[in-house]
Structure formats: structure tokens, C-alpha cells
């Protein structure tokens, strides 16, 4: 029968409906309009249950389970951290691909392309900040996910390999974060990565080769940037996606591990879910996941619009290392370790041993029980490790253990090379021309914020016993203008103290439009 005959037989309304219905079945891989409405209304599923068809016949849902055990649907025990990790990975891929439209990976154009993205591309800053914030969030979430998996003992048999792939994913995440860190090619990026790759050089076996492979040359330059870029946009994401596929496959194959209290030691009931404990994927689990996704996106978007802006320091300068150069925060623990001893041991051997140990935990843990009361030692160890990490991270911060001469420290605090600092943050009109000595309290109220900074300056100097009798002189001069209004001022900071051989002097220029206070 031809189409026209069909229409004549059924009537136009029925024909249109059957076409739409047909389309819906194809799109959902098995659900008709009535079935979809049933899902959206929360009606009980028909028998036989059509809602498994998108899983059994479709691609998008084929790896997702058709139901969850009720006990793993609440916030505890998973806190949905695995889902969150995968979601942040997806956000990174999307925002990363978007940024690739404008970013250029050569030293002579990288920084310029960053400036272009931030000032000349609509939503450029938004996309960049979203990419950076999600990256930092992903490192945190991935670590929390690992911690949760350890605490609930979910790594034990038969899920050892899942844990192993998870550790690989942790390394991929850290690698992605580290390689991406270099791409802006500013002072922060350049020196953090110089430190990181120098640590690779200290490896007892193959250190030199590893360093050369990463950098593509003796020091980080065009080759290094290109290699880091390729690692960041293709090699690590590819490995990440493949290992993630294996990881998630294993998760579903064994089933989400139940809360420890629900199983006897050595038992694993995840795959045997009684019908009354089944929570279907459509609509319940999907709804919760979409809600979690909505919350993540909302936090990200609000965060990036009102609270967080990724930094961009000065152009990378291979000849000048700024004072208090630091590693990215997730590597501060290694920096802390480096302050304790030999760089080869502390920077290479120990971290390698730690990660190897981490990967092998399920294979050397002979305690079959997942119950908290049977794992007091493991749980105590986990708490100690977390505490040690926190302490090491603090020790890795620039202020700890590395101190420049006191006048340099004061100068660094007030005129930092790469941060605004109190003086640059003053509103431009508060930088009143004159010579100010912090030893003489000036009662002038022409510039109240300037007075505050001068007092802070004197207080900071007094804190250092080596600067007995110390005081600072701040000279502010008009430098350039358009003939009527000044737009550039020169600020010189001099620090003097008793028996000073050479006073500390630092000059900085401040432009009206620079807006450091924002």
C-alpha cells in the first residue's frame, strides 16, 4: 500500500501520530510516546518492561545499568563522586576544544593568544576560567573518589583491577592538569613546569632521557611547549578515555559495591539485587544524575562569573625566576618533601614508590572484610596519610622554609613581582605625588588608603628583628599623561635600617587603566 492509501485508511491524525511515534521509538531505541510519557509521569513500568530497551538496544545507554541497588542511590556511600569525575572530564573536553579555536602553542604566540582570548573573544574569559576551575575541581573530586573507595573497602576482591585502572586515571588527571599548566606561557606556568621537569631529571634511571623527552630540548622552549600541548590535547585524553571505558565497564560488570555494613566479610552481593530493592535507571537514576549535573554546572557558572578568575602573570621570562616560585597546589606535597632531603629520593623515588604502593593496595590487602570495625588499621592509616599530605602541602608552600633576606621579604609583600600587592591595589587617585617616610607618621588625610598601606609597611618592617630601626620611604611621582591627566605614576620603595650597607630599592610603574584592585 502506498503512503496515500495508508493515510486514507487511518485518517490523517492517526497517520501523523504514528509517524511521530515511530520517530520517538527510533530516537529512544525502543520507547514509544506512551512509554516516554509513562517515564516522565513516574507511572509504574508496563510488563514486559519497555524501559530496558534503550539499554539493551541503544548505544548511548548500553553501558549504563538498567537499575541500581537501592542502597547505592543515596548520597552515601558513593557521594556520586565517580559520576562527578566523569562529568568534569566531559566539561574539560568541551571547554578545552572550545579554547583550542584560539590558542596557539608556540612561545612567540602563546601568551598573545591568551590575551586575545581574554580581551578580544566574546566569553573567552568565561570559557578559560571554566576550564581552569573544572580542572582544579576535577583533581579534588578524583582524589575524594579514591579516598571514598578506599574507606568503603570497595577495592577488595573482585574489584582489584577497577582500583588499578582508577590509579592510572589519577595519574592521567594529574598529568592533564600539569601539562595544561604550561600552556599560558606566563611566569607562573614556565617556572612551575621547569621545577616539575627538573624533578623528572633527578630520576636515578633514565632521568636525563625523561627530562629531554618531556622538554624536547635542554630547557623548556618551543619543543617543550608543543610536546606538552600534544600531551594535553591528544595523548593523555585518549589514554584517559580508553582507561575510563575499561574502568567503568569493570564497575558495571561487578556492580556498584554495596555499603560495607550490608555484606558479610568476603561476600559480594552487588550483582544479586532482589526485585524490591531495584531502583530503575529510567527515570529515577537519570533524574538524580541530571540534577547532580545541573548543580555542578550551576556552581561552575556562578563561580566563574562572580568569584573565580584564572590568573595570568607576566610573559614567561627564562632569565628571571620570580621570588617564591611555586608548584601547582596539587604538587605542593612533593615540594614539601623536596625541602626535607635529597631531590632524587624525595622527588622521584618516594613518589614513585607511593604511587606503586597505591596501585597495588588491593593485591597486598589480605583482609577480606569490608566492615569498618574489621579495618581499624587501614582506616587509621588512611587518616594518617591524609594528615601527612596536608602537612607536606603546607610545607611546600613558598613561605615555609625558604626565606629571602628580610628587606626582600617586605618588598615582596608590598610590591610582589607577579601579584598586585597592597600598593598596586590602591585606587589610582590615592597615589598622591610625594615622598613618604613611614617613620614619620603623617597625619594628612588626603589619601586615607595610602596612609593605611604606609602603616602596614612600617608594621611589617618592625616584625623583622634584623631590620632594627628600619623604616621605608615611598616616593610617588607623576610620570606620563596626556597633557591634562596623568595616566602613569612611578612608585619607588626604599627600605632603610640602622647600619645599612645598601638600602633596598624597588621601582614599579602603575597605570590608571591597570585596575589591580579588581
Amino acid at each position: 500500500m502506498s503512503i496515500l492509501d495508508e493515510i486514507r485508511e487511518q485518517g490523517a491524525k492517526k497517520f501523523v501520530f504514528s509517524v511521530i511515534d515511530d520517530t520517538v521509538v527510533r530516537i529512544t531505541a525502543g520507547l514509544s510516546i506512551n512509554d516516554v510519557r509513562g517515564v516522565l509521569r513516574g507511572d509504574p513500568a508496563a510488563k514486559p518492561n519497555p524501559r530496558v530497551k534503550p539499554h539493551t538496544e541503544g548505544f548511548v545507554l548500553h553501558i549504563r545499568p538498567t537499575f541500581y541497588h537501592q542502597a547505592v542511590t543515596a548520597l552515601y556511600p558513593t557521594f556520586r563522586l565517580g559520576f562527578l569525575s566523569a562529568m568534569l572530564f566531559l566539561i574539560e573536553i568541551i571547554t578545552g576544544a572550545i579554547l583550542m579555536v584560539f590558542y596557539s602553542p608556540t612561545p612567540s604566540s602563546a601568551y598573545e593568544s591568551m590575551l586575545k582570548i581574554l580581551s578580544g573573544v566574546p566569553l573567552g574569559q568565561f570559557m578559560r576560567d571554566a576550564h581552569r576551575l573544572s580542572a582544579e575541581g576535577m583533581v579534588i573530586v578524583v582524589c575524594l573518589h579514591m579516598l571514598r573507595t578506599f574507606l568503603t573497602g570497595s577495592y577488595k576482591a573482585p574489584r582489584q583491577f577497577t582500583w588499578l585502572t582508577g590509579v592510572v586515571l589519577l595519574l592521567v588527571t594529574l598529568g592533564l592538569s600539569f601539562t595544561g599548566y604550561l600552556l599560558p606561557w606566563d611566569q607562573l606556568a614556565f617556572w612551575a613546569v621547569t621545577i616539575g621537569t627538573s624533578m623528572a631529571e633527578k630520576a636515578p634511571v633514565g632521568g636525563q632521557e625523561a627530562n629531554l623527552l618531556l622538554r624536547g630540548a635542554a630547557s623548556i622552549g618551543p619543543n617543550g611547549l608543543l610536546r606538552f600541548y600534544l600531551l594535553h590535547v591528544i595523548f593523555l585524553p585518549l589514554i584517559g578515555i580508553l582507561v575510563l571505558a575499561v574502568h567503568y565497564y569493570k564497575v558495571i560488570r561487578h556492580g556498584h559495591s554495596l555499603p560495607p555494613g550490608m555484606e558479610a566479610p568476603g561476600e559480594d552481593n552487588a550483582r544479586k539485587v532482589p526485585p524490591d530493592k531495584r531502583v530503575p535507571f529510567l527515570p529515577d537514576i537519570l533524574t538524580t544524575e541530571l540534577l547532580w549535573a545541573a548543580l555542578t554546572i550551576a556552581v561552575l557558572v556562578v563561580g566563574v562569573t562572580f568569584f573565580y578568575h584564572a590568573p595570568l602573570e607576566h610573559h614567561a621570562d627564562p632569565n628571571v625566576t620570580p621570588l617564591h616560585t611555586t608548584a601547582p597546589w596539587y604538587f605542593l606535597w612533593i615540594q614539601g618533601m623536596l625541602k626535607l632531603g635529597d631531590p632524587t629520593i624525595m622527588g622521584v623515588v618516594l613518589p614513585t614508590v607511593i604511587f606503586l604502593f597505591l596501585a597495588l593496595i588491593p593485591y597486598i590487602d589480605f583482609n577480606r572484610s569490608r566492615l569498618y570495625k574489621d579495618r581499624k588499621i587501614a582506616l587509621a592509616l588512611a587518616s594518617i596519610v591524609v594528615a601527612v599530605l596536608v602537612v607536606l602541602t603546607y610545607m611546600g608552600t613558598p613561605q615555609y622554609g625558604t626565606e629571602a633576606p628580610p628587606p626582600d621579604e617586605v618588598g615582596f609583600h608590598f610590591i610582589p613581582p607577579e601579584q598586585p600587592g597592597p600598593i598596586r591595589s590602591l585606587p589610582f587617585d590615592q597615589l598622591v605625588v610625594g615622598e613618604y617616610d613611614t617613620a614619620k607618621t603623617s597625619g594628612a588625610t588626603i589619601a586615607p588608603k595610602l596612609n593605611e598601606v604606609l602603616q602596614e609597611l612600617q608594621a611589617d618592617i618592625t616584625k623583622h628583628p634584623e631590620l632594627a630601626g628600619g623604616h621605608a620611604v615611598l616616593v610617588i611621582e607623576d610620570w606620563q599623561g596626556d597633557g591634562k591627566t596623568v595616566n602613569l605614576k612611578k612608585v619607588t620603595l626604599r627600605i632603610l635600617w640602622d647600619n645599612v650597607a645598601q638600602p633596598y630599592e624597588n621601582t614599579v610603574y602603575i597605570h590608571r587603566d591597570s585596575n589591580y584592585s579588581e
Binding site: 568565561f126 548543580l295 556562578v302 610573559h315 606620563q480 591597570s514 585596575n515
Partner: protein
Amino acid sequence: MQTRIALGAVLFMLVIAVVGYVIINEGLLPGQTGRMQKFDAQVQGRSIESGALLFQNNCVGCHGVQGQGIPGVAPALNAADLFSGERLKKVGYSGKVEDYIRGVISVGRPIKTNPSYPSPMPTWGQTFGGPLRDDQINNLTNFIMNWKDQALAAPSAPAAPAVQAVGTSLDTPLPAGVADNGQKIFAAQGCAACHSLKLDEKIVGPSLAGVAARAGDRIKAADYKGKATTGELYLRESIVQPGAYVVPSFLDGVMPQDYGKAKLSPQDLADLIAFLLTQK
């Protein structure tokens, strides 16, 4: 369950609103001052700041602290004739002022072209073998261009008051010299462009580190042909009669001959000598 669905919808509405707010404030249309334009102004401002620091560290020795130039050493940059296009016409350059500045900084003057400036400008751009990156040259250019409005608005500089020149004789009495003033004259007259105060650093002429001690020995050298009888007089002679004695391995006729004849007053000379006497 219904709460979750409703909450999900509300969250997405919030996200739609916030993203809309961002898009509206970006400054998409020409003529608006949105975030993009403000950021651009920031970038420009900070470029000028970096340029100012680079200028201070590399250029003031020849071009003067405020870009006013030093006669016989380097031309003024903070000058109306540069930005009005007059200077470019004179040298026959047909492009934009900004390109001229950027090009000259980057290439310098690898060959001597202008007899008024005997000491040629160094090459600064890395492309041509100099020490500065392209973005630094860009910052310097932006800083110098920032003098444009100021220079064009300023009344043409009044002719410098004629200096009562001290003359080239070694006998005329000099007032007491103040070393601090002498230090300023050392910079303002462009001595720093050719004479370093660091030990053994040769720029064009010999380093003046330790010259206070050395001056007395110079006059005792076998090849000394001048008329000074004390170290102090040697210093004076070197300034006002540069050709009287040339330190071995340096060339005659490079140091300007008119410090005594035209540029320095008696007080200036005294201050300069006092300053040089502090270089032990």
C-alpha cells in the same frame, strides 16, 4: 522525586540567567564598554608599565630619564616632532610612527648613519641578535607612544639657557664641587652612555671605576703627554681636553670635545670632578 525535577529545572534557569548576564556584559557591539574593552585597557596599561621599567633599565642612559634625549648621544623621544611626523619626514620614513619606533628599537643602528650621534644605538630585538623578546619590544613601544599626547600638548621646549662655559684651560679657579650634583650631571650629560662605573666594563670609553685612585698614576705614565700635575687636574683635563691624552687601546676623537667649550659651567665641572673623586 518531584523536588529533584523541580530543583533541576530551577538550577538550569539560574544557569541560563547567569550566562545571559555574562553575554550582555561582554561588550559585543562596537562602541560599548564591556568586560572585553575593560580587559583590553588593562592589558594596554600593564604593557606600558612593563615598558616603563624596561625603559628605565635599558634606555635612560642615552635617551634621558624622561626621554628628553641627550645632545650628541641620543635624540629625544618625548618630543613633539617625533609624534607629529616631522622627524619621520626628515629622515624619509613613510610609515607610521609606531612602526618606526618598534623597528628602530628592534634593529638599532647596526651601521653608523647619523654623524650627530657618534655612538650608534644597540640592537635590542632577539630576531636581530639583541636581548629583548618581541613582547618586550612591544611594551617599550607602547610606553614611548604613551608620550604622544603629552609631547604634542607641551609648549615647544624653551631654548636651554646659555651655559657660561668653563672653557678648556686647566688654570681657571673652580668653586667647591658637590659630588651628589656631579652624579646627576654624569647622567644628564650622557657620560654614562660611554663610561661605565663598573669595574672593567667597557661601553665606549674606559670604565671610570676606581678612577680617583688611578688618576694620580696616569700622569706618571711614560706615555703621558698632557699637562696635569695632580690627579684632580688629570680628571679636569680629560673632560675639557679629551685629546690631550688618550688611554692606550682607546681611539682619539670619539669623546665629544665641547664639554669645556660649551656644555659645562664652572660649577658643573667642579661637581663632576668631585663625583669622580668618589670613584675609588
